[in-house]
């Protein structure tokens, strides 16, 4: 338990450092983006000997991925997302086909620790499919997903959650029949012993401003409250990366509440991948934007650059 805690703390620190670096120099990200796994292995040969690696190693070992292969070279997962890199998640040539339809086509995508990345694109661009591939809800047809030094391509969804990938769903999928307290319990009991459970649940509910509604069945909460509960439950698992599909049909006010919560958690060092449709909204929260179109990465860059891009405007507005 202590080892895990320390580990999480270290990663949090890494994450905030990464965030600062990222804010200072956009080029650094560009370079990291362009780097292939093998090239970055060469760029960071000392990755295995830094202090950060000591913190991250147990996790990589627990995840069953050796830090390096037999020839002494690093595995692609460690090279891409292991200690010594700022990259938390990387997809390498990720492809998903449903029968003859290619939903995600050879996508190389990566996210830094502590970053808040928005994923935009027209309907059918593959945004949800990409998130489902990352959470393990869908199996990849080909390609690989690396996360925090481990190859998670074939991992079960719950194993990915244990590694620190959380998911918040588009439709609030809190357990309707259970109370807010019981919902939160399901999440909090993963990280707390029985003795501290009650207090931790109440704290977590307090944090999302739902302490007063603890005994209300989640199905009877307002849409916005369900959205907050959903994020609160995901955050209670203490993830390093949260995938966020926005809650559909929220009022402006409710959306702002959710956005505040996302920004706050991101400030605590949790990296986010947020699917969003409203580009003004994106401008308020995101560092970096990835535009998906037809299952491929269409553009990637700062919100200003994306907003001024005529091609992006064209695919969004369709025939107009």
């Amino acid at each position: 338990m202590t080892a895990t805690d320390t580990n999480t703390d270290t990663e949090r620190t890494d994450a905030s450092t990464a965030k600062t670096t990222d804010a200072l120099s956009a080029e650094a990200t560009e370079v990291a983006d362009a780097t292939t796994p093998d090239a970055s292995a060469d760029a960071a040969p000392d990755g295995g000997t830094t202090d950060a690696s000591d913190a991250a190693d147990p996790e990589a070992v627990a995840a069953g991925t050796p830090p390096s292969d037999t020839s002494g070279r690093q595995s692609p997962a460690v090279a891409a997302t292991g200690p010594g890199t700022d990259t938390l998640l990387q997809t390498d040539g990720l492809t998903k086909r449903f029968g003859g339809f290619t939903a995600i086509d050879d996508v190389d995508f990566d996210v830094e620790a502590g970053e808040l990345r928005c994923l935009i694109g027209p309907n059918g661009a593959g945004k949800s499919t990409l998130l489902k591939l990352i959470t393990g809800r869908h199996d990849a047809t080909s390609g690989a997903i690396y996360y925090d030094g481990a190859d998670i391509t074939d991992r079960r969804p719950h194993e990915r959650v244990d590694l620190g990938i959380g998911m918040k769903f588009q439709v609030p999928s809190v357990f309707d029949e259970l109370t807010a307290y019981e919902n939160m319990r399901l999440s909090v009991q993963r990280t707390h012993a029985d003795a501290d459970l009650d207090e931790a649940i109440r704290d977590a509910l307090e944090r999302i401003d739902l302490a007063e509604r603890a005994t209300t069945p989640a199905g009877e909460l307002s849409h916005g409250q369900q959205g907050r509960l959903e994020i609160g439950m995901a955050a209670a698992l203490e993830p390093d990366l949260l995938l966020d599909e926005p809650v559909a049909g929220l009022s402006v006010e409710e959306r702002n509440e959710v956005a505040d919560l996302v920004t706050e958690l991101n400030g605590d060092g949790i990296a986010f991948i947020v699917i969003e449709h409203d580009i003004d909204f994106v401008a308020n929260i995101a560092d970096e934007v990835t535009v998906l179109h037809g299952g491929e990465v269409f553009r990637e860059g700062s919100i200003e650059a994306i907003r001024d891009d005529d091609e992006v405007r064209r695919i969004y507005l369709g025939g107009e």
């Binding site: 079960r156 969804p157 959650v161 357990f175 309707d176 399901l186 999440s187 009991q189 993963r190």
Partner: protein, 362 residues
């Protein structure tokens, strides 16, 4: 006051939102009923106790389905498989070895084999991503296959050790439940068997109450509500379902051993479609999300069925079917949860009425 506090502390582990009866009044009622049940053989004699023991052992079978279906959302028609496997195992072990010690050990071994059977079947189903109605069909098919298979074991080639499987006629002269070694062994018959069964039922009931209100119980309920969501909270739902299925197998197995020793007899009809359906009726009528409901419904329905059969009525099963339909149509959540809700309603109304005159003047 001290006594009341101790009482409250004792009942706490068995209470929570996942069970009915989380009040001092409930537990007082529980103890009164329990005292009545313990005294039953004294008042009505050994023969009546022996008949009643059948209902109690069936209630353990009902509990096995309640945890699997009511709490975890897996409708299994296969509880009778583990019931029968344990019953047959007990017969084969105790009759082949013919000693008090072997009969004593046959109980845990038979329950263990039933659990193992549940683990194997559950592994292939849940790790093979078989879900929903397919689990129901698969478990029913396993029961029917065993029914057909055991029914054709009449020939002399179908003997295990010295015991003939007996085909459709089954295995007679199974020893009664025995504990001990050699001369010091105690055989449980009549009232003693009734008390043992009652103790096993009460232990199962209390154990399950503690389980469903604990950490794992919440995981079971979450799995029932939404498997994908539960998985995204980091729970391995395949493992959760397998463990619950194994637990259900163990309870059904215990029930099966008690059944085989109760009538000293077991036959392939335990795997038949009639017997496979009846646990579903008990649990659906009593309330599938209520452990208490399953027990009450089992005892009442089986008592009723026995009375009808005893008076020579051939309509017992038809009436049970009508009861099931009526329950599904009019009380889909089950009779016992409905009664509990009605009681709470009445109590609340009384409480408000009593409060109003003494409450705030406005």
């Amino acid at each position: 006051m001290g006594l009341g506090d101790t009482f409250d502390r004792l009942r706490r582990p068995f209470e929570g939102p996942n069970t009915l009866g989380n009040s001092r009044a409930f537990w007082v009622g529980f103890l009164v009923v329990l005292a009545g049940l313990v005294g039953y053989p004294i008042g009505f004699g050994s023969y009546a106790a022996s008949s009643a023991a059948l209902y109690l052992l069936y209630a353990i079978l009902a509990l096995s389905l309640t945890v699997i279906w009511g709490y975890t959302g897996i409708l299994s028609f296969g509880q009778v498989v583990f019931f029968g496997v344990a019953g047959y195992s007990f017969a084969l072990i105790s009759m082949n070895l013919e000693s008090a010690l072997a009969t004593t050990l046959a109980l845990p071994v038979a329950v263990g084999l039933a659990t193992l059977a549940a683990l194997v079947l559950g592994y292939f189903m849940f790790y093979g991503e078989v879900r929903d109605v397919y689990v129901t069909i698969l478990t029913l098919v396993v029961a029917l296959v065993l029914n057909t298979f055991m029914a054709q074991t009449a020939g002399s080639e179908w003997t295990v050790g010295s015991v003939a499987l007996g085909g459709f006629n089954g295995i007679p002269a199974i020893p009664s439940l025995t504990f001990g070694v050699g001369e010091a062994a105690v055989t449980l018959d009549g009232s003693a068997f009734y008390w043992f069964t009652l103790a096993a039922l009460v232990a199962s009931y209390l154990g399950l109450r503690a389980l469903v209100n604990g950490r794992f119980g919440y995981t079971m309920v979450a799995t029932r509500e939404d498997e994908d969501r539960t998985e995204m909270l980091g729970y391995d739902v395949r493992r959760v379902k397998l463990l619950v299925f194994a637990l259900g197998g163990a309870l059904a197995g215990l029930s099966g051993v008690l059944y085989a020793t109760w009538g000293n007899y077991i036959s392939p009809s335990v795997f038949g479609i009639t017997f496979a359906s009846i646990p579903v009726v008990w649990v659906a009528v009593g309330g599938r999300r209520s452990l208490l409901g399953a027990i009450v419904a089992t005892v009442v329905i089986e008592w009723f069925r026995q009375q009808l059969s005893a008076t020579g009525s051939q309509y017992a099963l038809i009436i049970v079917g009508v009861v099931l339909l009526a329950a599904i149509l009019f009380v889909p959540e089950g009779v016992v949860p409905r009664l509990d809700a009605a009681l709470t309603d009445v109590r609340d109304r009384f409480a408000t009425n009593a409060d109003t005159p003494e409450g705030t003047p406005e």
